[in-house]
């Protein structure tokens, strides 16, 4: 079934299959962007600048982790923006900026993300609604709930700051590495382990390749599908927590960029959009590439609307390069 159309079969002998080559390309692209950035703007590749870019990339990377899980089974999660935004607002409104309430607020927030993912997954897996439609509807539901319950961000609690504990945790550093980045590295390790070395990961790939065959082989397809959407919701909520900790306050629309960015990261990272192929290691590199690209454009004084256009073009070009559906027969 795998139609190896690689230009260099000798690379295959080195263990560089097409999937691994794509991950390699994503890393090469990231490095190249840093080089270009350093040429456009001296100091771009300095230690402080790289750390800042990687920190911003970690937010995208967390959302992309959830997106990778659902894309691996050929799904998609369009509910990311308002799950993230709702989580950010829920964190400040339940904690009211008080450290003593932070654990409870964190639990509520991540629980909310899990609940949104659970509903997505249940309806998609058990009621057979297409993932695009269900997650788009969930995005609307979360948007309406967030706007309505916060009175359009006019509620008194909405102006609260994130608890100091959370802010410090995000802004702090361990061994000279920003804390958000440390968390991301941990997430990369855990997600990669899950995908490569656990039965859950194997089942995910199996469903992505052929749901019917996996069902016949004894995989509980519906349960795994549901869990993957739960993971996506939790990661979106986690990104919301980090973002609000990073910025201090929540705002409406703060989740909007993350839909495109997470999908672009997944595509750049060489994850096959129809499922079954790809790895989070690639998507993580995709997140870095994307944020580095945006930073280069910002260094070149690209206006805000230009970024949207660039995201779109990057996704399209990469899809044309290697996201093509294989010709039947």
């Amino acid at each position: 079934m795998a139609r190896e159309s690689g230009p260099a079969p000798s690379l295959d002998r080195l263990g560089l299959t097409r999937d691994r080559r794509r991950i390699l390309y994503a890393y090469l692209a990231a490095i190249m962007l840093f080089v270009v950035g350093a040429m456009v703007h001296p100091g771009f590749a300095g230690l402080g600048s790289v750390a800042a870019i990687l920190t911003v990339a970690s937010f995208v990377g967390l959302v992309a982790a959830g997106q990778t899980f659902v894309v691996l089974i050929g799904g998609i999660d369009l509910s990311v923006p308002w799950v993230l935004n709702g989580a950010a607002i829920l964190l400040v409104t339940t904690s009211l900026g008080e450290d003593s309430r932070a654990p409870y607020a964190l639990l509520m927030t991540l629980g909310m993300g899990a609940a949104a993912g659970l509903v997505n997954g249940f309806v998609i897996a058990f009621l057979g609604v297409p993932a695009v439609v269900m997650t788009l509807a969930m995005d609307g539901v979360m948007e309406g709930l967030t706007l309505g319950l916060s009175g359009g961000m006019t509620c008194r609690a909405c102006a609260s700051y994130a608890p100091t504990v959370v802010q410090n945790a995000v802004h702090g550093s361990a061994f000279g590495i920003p804390a958000a980045l440390v968390l991301w590295i941990a997430v990369i390790a855990v997600v990669s382990f899950i995908l490569s070395f656990t039965t859950f990961g194997r089942r995910t790939y199996a469903i992505g390749n052929n749901p019917l065959a996996s069902y016949l082989a004894g995989v509980n397809v519906r349960l795994v599908t549901m869990l993957l959407y739960v993971l996506s919701g939790v990661f979106a909520a986690l990104a919301g927590v980090l973002l609000v900790g990073f910025g201090g306050q929540a705002s409406l629309g703060m989740g909007n960029p993350y839909l495109f960015q997470s999908i672009a990261a997944v595509v750049i990272g060489g994850v096959y959009m129809l499922g079954g192929r790809g790895h989070y290691l690639g998507a993580a590199a995709g997140a870095v590439t994307l944020v580095a690209l945006v930073s280069v454009l910002l260094a070149m004084n690209m206006p805000d609307y230009g970024r949207n256009i660039i995201y779109g073009i990057v996704i399209l070009v990469l899809l044309l390069l290697y996201g093509r559906e294989e010709k039947e027969e």
């Binding site: 297409p130 439609v133 509807a137 309406g144 309505g148 230009g306 995201y311 779109g312 073009i313 899809l319």
Partner: protein, 331 residues
């Protein structure tokens, strides 16, 4: 019409057969009647009168952009795709209209035609990427949505511009529900499409792509044309929106991506392609507007609007799947 009964088997009673073939359409009309009844009831309770000329006119005028873009979405959905970029096309055409329409006949007619053609061209880009580039419709239109939205803001950074009053009164008459004529035209357009060779090709493509190709349908061409039609209809929706707002806003179309899918699903279209009626979609668009109206008169905060849209979308998809299964036990 496409019939499943190519294999000889005992035919069910005619009414059941009709219902099974047109489940979506019948459900959509039933929903429309229910929505109108609930709307009248809520209106009666709050205003102690039945909706009059003003309410009917504003409802029809408010629904026109959605009906147009949902019809465009329907062409793509029949071809087993989904067009997420309709909101972006509306943004872009809306912004263009606000900048270029001036108060003389030549400008109004000329630029309307140009804007409609631009909409078709935007659809063509989608169609070529999906059809010739063999990419997934969702990803392509998600990417072009970002591009079109960016271009729209480039053209009209702040809400503004102006639409000539003559243009507004020609498209959206605020005094009489003359826009109902456009609704009829839209229904007529659907029937013309359904009976045209390209309509047959698109339906065949949506039902079974391999079989359609084996029977000599140019599936690439059919798919591209479906997207072109969608872009064209969304451009028309953008013009209507500009006319009724009398000014332009480069983000005003954003919500229509979700709403158009809601209208298509409420209208009984099968999201897996090849089944459904444009008349149902028009009804679906009216139901969507009615829901907003009902929420308004029941004193529900308009901030919750997308919550209810999302909720009704899920309920409609699940229900139509269940009803379809009940009426068509074989499939």
């Amino acid at each position: 019409l496409s019939t499943d009964a190519t294999v000889e088997r005992p035919r069910p009673p005619r009414l059941v057969y009709f219902l099974a073939q047109n489940t979506g359409l019948v459900l959509a009309q039933a929903m429309l009647v229910t929505a109108i009844a609930v709307y009248c009831a809520v209106f009666w309770l709050t205003e102690a009168a039945l909706p009059g000329n003003f309410e009917i006119t504003s409802t029809v005028n408010n629904t026109m952009p959605l009906a147009l873009t949902a019809m465009g979405q329907a062409f793509v959905v029949v071809a087993r795709g989904l067009d997420l970029s309709v909101g972006g096309v509306m943004d872009l055409t809306n912004a263009l209209a606000a900048i270029h329409l001036h108060d003389n006949l030549a400008s109004m007619v000329g630029w309307s035609v140009v804007i409609l053609l631009i909409g078709a061209a935007l659809g063509l880009v989608n169609g070529l990427l999906v059809g010739v580039g063999r990419l997934q419709p969702i990803l392509v239109t998600l990417a072009t949505l970002a591009i079109y939205q960016g271009l729209a803001i480039r053209i009209l950074p702040q809400p503004g511009g102006s639409i000539p009053t003559a243009y507004t009164s020609a498209l959206v008459n605020p005094n009489q529900p003359t826009a109902l004529i456009y609704v009829l035209l839209l229904a007529f357009l659907w029937y013309a499409f359904r009976r045209s060779s390209i309509g047959v090709a698109i339906f065949a493509l949506g039902n079974d792509e391999l079989a359609a190709r084996a029977n000599g349908v140019d599936t690439v061409r059919a798919r591209v044309i479906a997207f072109v039609l969608s872009g064209f209809m969304s451009a028309a929706a953008g013009l209507f929106l500009a006319a009724s707002a009398t000014a332009g806003d480069a983000t005003t179309g954003d919500g229509y991506t979700l709403s158009s899918i809601v209208a298509v699903v409420l209208g009984g279209m099968n999201l897996f392609g090849g089944r459904g009626s444009g008349v149902g979609v028009i009804a679906g668009a009216f139901v969507t507007t009615m829901i907003v109206n009902i929420l308004f008169f029941s004193n529900i905060d308009p901030l919750y609007q997308s919550f209810y849209e999302g909720l009704f979308l899920v309920i409609a998809v699940v229900l139509s799947a269940l009803v379809g299964r009940l009426l068509r036990p074989r499939r």
